[in-house]
Symmetry: C2
Subunit: 111 residues, 2 copies
DNA sequence: TACTTAATTAAGTACAAATATAAATACTTA
DNA sequence: TAAGTATTTATATTTGTACTTAATTAAGTA
């Protein structure tokens, strides 16, 4: 099977977005991730493979387990693409500023 | 054909991203858009249909022509999703602030 | 060594997506 | 009204995606 290794394609799938969401909070092994979904472990394994190929995820072997860790730098590509149209959809610029301030404070106070 | 009407899916296709880019600058009719691509007009017509269904594009009939206009509010959904991971990929938060200031000034001085 | 657990690889199926060609619709103009 | 232009709809084909079950690899454990 030929897979299109492209961040936009990677995040197009809702299952993959959910996987990203799960591991963004904390690293998890494959089975723990798979347990959250109704599909087979093999199906999740493939989604993870796609995310790894798009460099949105990295694997750390730990015994027989494979721990999935988020590596979201590549999301920047999407962010940059979106940003060029921000003026087209951002109603209130101030909201983003408020958000930024919040984010900044969270950082300063250790998450 | 059942199409997944979802903004993430809509922007997953590079052709559709390019169409968005074209009409974001100026409204264009279908044929003008199609001329920029190697594929058939019908294929572009379908891409446009998908973009309309995802509300990223709207059509204004003008005689026998159909003018495509960008309507990018729905990109906000992607933006919000990306934003929650911004701290994972934004190297310097200050850069964003600088960017925001710039954007703000551009707005104030009428683009 | 045999058994269990974690995860992948392999093979196959069903359906969705992207495209093409052909025909139809709708409007404009000679 | 016939011919031309703009675009969509219909139909078919090819490729890609998401998924399944079965088998395999690898690492712990009894």
């Amino acid at each position: 099977m030929i897979i299109r290794r492209d961040v936009f394609q990677a995040i197009a799938d809702p299952t993959r977005r959910q996987i990203i969401n799960m591991v963004a909070n904390q690293p998890l092994n494959v089975n723990t991730i798979a347990d959250s979904f109704d599909v087979s472990r093999q199906a999740i394994s493939l989604h993870i493979k796609i995310l790894i190929e798009c460099e949105l995820l990295k694997i750390k072997k730990q015994g027989r387990e494979r721990i999935c860790e988020a590596q979201l730098d590549q999301l920047n590509e999407v962010s940059v693409w979106i940003d060029q149209y921000r003026q087209h959809f951002e109603q209130k610029l101030d909201n983003l500023e408020t958000y930024l301030d919040k984010l900044k404070k969270e950082r300063q106070h250790g998450k």
